[in-house]
């Protein structure tokens, strides 16, 4: 941190939702027992484009090991104690979830739960568990283990930065019999199944959690395809194949144990060092390839270069509506019309990403098509909007109003500097001066929270669209509501969609949310967020999880 933190060109953002939201779209078909293969998302859902590559055909060769570089070392491998992407990466191999989201059709499929059923009110969910599953330490997996894990994730004493929020309005788990667990919720919760498919709510060995206590994060024990071997702090994390593994989701490219014998994860924050290690053949997979180098490596033709899109909200510029000049809607509209999106993507990111112009990405449930194309690039219109707003061109080309120059502070992460500089260049012809203000992650987040600056940027990664409340709901003012929106109507729409059990109605509400945001020009979406991977040509079967694009290393084999 990252992290940073960590000089990473593309920082990862994830999305942790607070609880207390409403019924899931998934529950639209409530009372109908969901079978593993049954589509869990409503059929009325707008077209959702799967972004993951299809599963590799043909069986891989078992054996071998890879070295996998992330841009920072995880903080903990206890699902309850971390919120970091790098930890998710490693944990996906160590733990299983009750259900999985299929990267092919984005539906929920059986994991440690073979089938599940929801009550009519959407508050009770009964899971039939798979038999014969064992944790790496020999502890049997059963309903008691489910109860133990969920109770722990819900307990405030666990101090979890992710799991508690993911579990939402959890009320409790009842052990019906050894392989049946009944989870009850206090209120309807739209993102419940979505959350269950994420590693933050995966199943840890109760025996090991009790044994290691606070140190469980350094001694993780799950049921996953890989077993934790060692963690040499600031050097490497080694996981080895679980020979007993036989309970992966059906959509994986094979059954039984993983192909790879061993995976060594290393955290290399320095971009130059990570690239050198990758290009010299020391690493088989490299995450967070800087855009410029991605382009170069791709052109070399020597590697598999993967752009893995994430769902959620695109990388966007948030305009501080509390301060001049963005307290004036016309100035915000001038930015939406006058900042050339494609040129920005070309100049700052080598044209690697696809353009996005609404707050819910088009690979996400309930993406609102109606909001697309509302602000076509139109320099003359932008100039007129500024003229009308009273910002007249000054002698040096910079616009002036009441003796004040049109100057904007763009506060961002150091590694995002190309984006800020490109924005500066592209807004200059409009008579707007952009000050480049780049900082480390902690500083710029704190400045965003306090509104110290005019422009901020972030992307959000989440498979549920309701998560955009984090950046648009007024209860997050002082937090990630960086446009500083305080709009009662928008708040109500956001609250209503979270509670709406009917998929079509929820989609309509989310469309209203998107339209309201775009009509008010509160945000300038730039591009669909993606993570960039460099993969050695020897690696076969590389594809990624729909959320946050974490690779399924279980499927990977070596030539």
């Amino acid at each position: 941190m990252s992290k940073r933190s960590r000089p990473n060109l593309i920082s990862r953002r994830r999305f942790i939702k607070i609880g207390g939201t409403g019924a899931v779209a998934v529950l639209a078909a409530s009372c109908v027992p969901a079978t593993p293969a049954a589509p869990a998302a409503p059929t009325a859902a707008p077209a959702v484009k799967p972004t993951a590559a299809p599963a590799a055909s043909g069986a891989g060769k078992p054996g071998g090991q890879i070295r996998y570089a992330m841009n920072n070392e995880p903080d903990s491998l206890d699902p309850a104690k971390t919120a970091q992407a790098s930890a998710f990466n490693v944990m996906m191999n160590l733990y299983d979830t009750l259900i999985w989201q299929d990267p092919g059709d984005l539906q929920y499929k059986a994991g440690l739960a073979e089938s599940w059923q929801s009550s009519a009110d959407g508050l009770t969910h009964t899971f039939k568990l798979r038999k014969g599953v064992k944790f790496h330490d020999g502890t049997p997996f059963n309903a008691e283990a489910v109860k133990f894990n969920f109770d722990r994730y819900a307990d405030p004493a666990t101090k979890s930065p992710s799991s508690t929020a993911k579990l939402g309005p959890y009320a409790g788990t009842r052990v019906v019999d050894e392989f049946t667990a009944e989870v009850t919720l206090k209120t309807q919760y739209a993102a419940f199944y979505d959350s269950l498919a994420q590693t933050w709510l995966s199943m840890a060995s109760p025996t090991a959690v009790k044994k290691f206590g606070d140190d469980f994060g350094r001694n993780p024990v799950g049921t996953g395809p890989m077993v934790f071997k060692e963690w040499v702090a600031k050097d490497r994390i080694v996981v080895v194949r679980n020979a007993d593994y036989a309970w992966g989701p059906a959509f994986w490219n094979h059954t039984g144990p993983a192909y790879l014998e061993q995976i060594t994860f290393v955290g290399i924050s320095e971009n130059g060092a990570r690239l050198t290690a990758f290009e010299s053949g020391e690493l088989q997979v490299m995450e967070t390839v800087p855009e410029g180098d991605f382009d170069r490596l791709k052109k070399s033709g020597k590697y598999q270069m993967v752009v893995a899109r994430t769902p959620g909200s695109p990388m966007s510029i948030y305009m501080n509506t509390e301060k001049a000049p963005f307290n004036d809607i016309n100035v915000r509209k001038a930015i939406l019309h006058g900042l050339n999106r494609q040129e920005l993507i070309n100049a700052a990111f080598f044209g690697l990403y696809s353009a996005a112009d609404t707050p819910i990405a088009d690979n996400t449930l309930h993406h609102a098509k109606k909001g697309v194309g509302m602000y076509p690039y139109d320099m003359e219109k932008a100039k007129k909007l500024l003229d009308d707003a009273g910002w007249k061109a000054g002698p040096d080309g910079v616009r002036v109003k009441d003796g004040q120059k049109l100057v904007i502070d763009f506060v961002d992460l150091t590694t995002y500097e190309p984006k800020v500089v490109a924005t500066q260049a592209l807004l200059k012809p409009l008579g707007i001066t952009v000050n480049v203000k780049v900082f480390d992650q902690a500083t710029r987040v704190s400045m965003g929270h306090k509104g110290e600056g005019n422009m901020f940027s972030t992307a959000l990664i989440d498979s549920d669209p309701g998560a955009i409340q984090l950046v648009f709901h007024s209860r997050n003012l002082g937090g990630f509501d960086w446009s500083r929106i305080k709009d009662a109507d928008l708040d109500k729409l956001l609250d209503d969609q979270a509670k709406e059990p009917d998929a079509a109605k929820r989609a309509a509400l989310l469309e209203q949310v998107v339209m309201k945001i775009m009509e008010n020009a509160w945000v300038y979406p730039i591009y669909n967020f993606a993570r960039l991977f460099g993969v050695s040509p020897k690696v076969k079967g590389f594809r990624t999880h729909p959320l946050g694009s974490y690779p399924y290393l279980y499927e990977v084999s070596l030539e």
Binding site: S5, R13, R14, K234, A273, E279, S280, V471
Partner: protein
């Protein structure tokens, strides 16, 4: 001598208290929230942020937090890292061997290269040997270590493929980091050795030694160098501190384990307990090394006595 050491040790207590207070309160002046250490790059709601702040005691007034820290530190407990969720002491302990290995190896490089260059230059003043050695020393002082490190990576890892670019284990992973770190220190040692040795070589006892028929090598190594080395020892002690500081950069460039990289991660993540712990630890090392240097004077130069 015993009393002297005891006095010096007692004098470190106020130093450490001063440092801890300085670090603690200056950290609070830096923008950024320690919540960053807990949630990393995650985006969280305000409700969740408030809960976490309360759970980790980050809402308490500053002085309360500081005295809680001091109270624990006196009992040898430096608290838990917000980021890595384990005791700060464990974090330091796990990173210490790698940093010690790196600084010692760098010191060996610095002394070998520095002393050799210095002696060669002093024995042939004004020649091309002297100019060459001093030019190299100038380069060592001038080039920043991240630049040297990245260039070594480009040459030896990427172009030639001789040495691994990252990691900690094994001798081959130590060569480039130790070379990078030692190069800067070698430069200073070389210059100082040269000037100090030149001065000593001009003194009468050297002429006497030569006159009584002692061999050249014996005169230089036993008589001249022993006298010339005292200022060098001082600078070596100080350099040890610089090496620790330099490890911050070098460990990051080469993605090595170590205290330096730990500190960078801690600062960027606003992991206050970890920053506190590491800085206090490094301060102790500085104080300790300085004490050792002072003691070593007495051993090298019998005229120096402490009471």
């Amino acid at each position: 001598m015993g009393t002297y050491i005891l006095k010096r040790l007692l004098a470190t207590i106020p130093i450490l208290i001063g440092i801890s207070a300085l670090v603690f309160f200056s950290l609070k002046l830096v923008p950024g929230d320690p919540l960053t250490a807990i949630v990393g790059d995650g985006v969280i709601s305000q409700e969740q942020a408030a809960q976490l702040r309360a759970q980790y005691g980050l809402d308490d007034p500053l002085h309360v937090q500081y005295f809680r820290f001091v109270e624990r530190a006196i009992q040898g407990d430096l608290g838990r890292s917000l980021q890595f969720k384990r005791p700060v002491v464990d974090e330091i302990r796990s990173q210490l061997p790698a940093t010690l290995q790196l600084t010692l190896a760098a010191m060996v490089v610095a002394l070998t290269v520095g002393l050799s260059l210095g002696i060669v230059a002093a024995l042939r003043p004004g020649t091309w040997l002297d100019s060459g050695a001093m030019a190299l020393a100038l380069a060592g002082v001038s080039f920043p270590s991240f630049w040297v490190g990245l260039n070594l990576l480009l040459i030896f890892s990427l172009a030639l493929g001789w040495l691994p670019a990252t990691g900690t284990e094994g001798f081959e992973r130590l060569i480039m980091p130790a070379g990078t770190l030692g190069f800067g220190a070698a430069a200073i040692i070389a210059r100082l050795t040269r000037s100090s040795l030149l001065e000593v070589l001009r003194q009468q006892f050297i002429t006497t030694a030569r006159a009584k028929g002692l061999g050249f090598a014996r005169v230089v190594l036993r008589h001249a160098l022993r006298n010339a080395i005292i200022p060098v020892v001082t600078i070596v002690g100080l350099q040890f501190g610089n090496l620790l500081a330099g490890a911050v950069v070098v460990e990051t460039v080469f993605s090595r384990q170590g205290i330096g990289r730990l500190l960078v991660t801690a600062i960027l993540g606003r992991d206050f307990p970890l920053v506190q712990g590491v800085v206090l630890f490094v301060a102790c090392v500085y104080v300790g090394v300085n004490l050792l240097v002072d003691i070593s004077y007495a051993l090298i130069d019998p005229r120096i006595r402490y009471a």
